[in-house]
Amino acid sequence: MRVTKVGKNSQNSIILIPGGPGLSTSYLRSMDQLSDKYQLHYLDLCGTNGTEVEILDAIKIASKIKEYAETIESGFTLLGHSYGGYLASKTATITSPRALICISTPLSSNSMNFAIDNYSQNRSRELIEKEAQWLANNSDDTFKAWLSSYGKLYFNTNDERWKDLFLKDNTSYRFFLNNSNDIENDKSVLIHIARTDFPKLFIAGNDDALIPPSVLKIDAEAGSFKYSPIDNAGHFPMLENPKRTISTIDDFISTIPPQRK
C-alpha cells in the first residue's frame, strides 16, 4: 500500500480511496484543494501507482486500510469514490472513523445491475472495440484504453482531458479482475453501515449515466447516509464539478465535532 499525504493539518485527516477497482489515486487529486484545511491521505494499493499486486478479498483490503487508518492519532474521515466508496464502507464497519463519505458508490447488487444494463445498452462503437481488445488480452494498456472510452457513461461533458487522464493512469488491471465482483457478492455491507452511528455523506452527480442518481439514492437511504446531489456532473463529480464537490465535503466535515473516539 502506498499513501500520498497532502496538507499540513494533521488534526483533521481524510483518507481517500479510488475506484475501478484498479484506477490509481491520480484522478482524486482534483480534490487537493481540501488540503488547505485537511491532511489528505491518498491510498494506492493492489498494484495501482506501483504498489505490490496482491490478491486480496474486500475484507482483507479493508483490514489493511484499517491498520493504516488507526495510526492516525487524531482520527480520520474515510472517503471513497465508486468502488473505493465500497472499500471505505467495508473499512468503516470494522473501525471507528469520524465520518464516512461515498461518492457515486454502488453499494448493492441492484445498483451494480443498473450499471451493467446501462453499460451494455449504451456502449459506443469505440467502447465495444476497446472492450473486445480488453477481453482478448488483459493488460494495463487495454484496461486503460477500455476505461478511457466510457465517454458519456462516465461524463456529462465530452472532455478529452478525462480520456487522457485515464490513458496515463498507473492502473492495476489485476485489481479489477480480482475484485470487480465484490459489490454484487456483498449482501450485507448496507445493513452493517446502517447500524453505525458516525456521520455519513453520499454524493452523486445528477447526470450519472452509468448508475442513475435515483438508484444510488436508494442505497444512500438504506445505509442512512445524508444524500447530496451535484449538478452538472456525471459519475466523476470531483472532475466535472470539483468546486461544488469540495464545498459539499468541507461543509459536511465542518459540522462534525473535532474528536470522535
Binding site: 456502449r123 477481453l135 479482475l177 465482483n181 459489490i183
Partner: protein
Amino acid sequence: MKTISRLLILFLAFASLAQVLANPKEGEINPKFQDGNDKPGV
C-alpha cells in the same frame, strides 16, 4: 472420407462459435464477460 468430412464440419462449427463469442454486438453483453470480466468499471 466420410469421417474426414464430419471432422471438418465439426471443426468449422467450433471455429464459427469462437468467432461469435469473440465479437460482441452492440447492446449485447459478450459471453466472455465472466468471473470478474462481466462488470463495468465503477
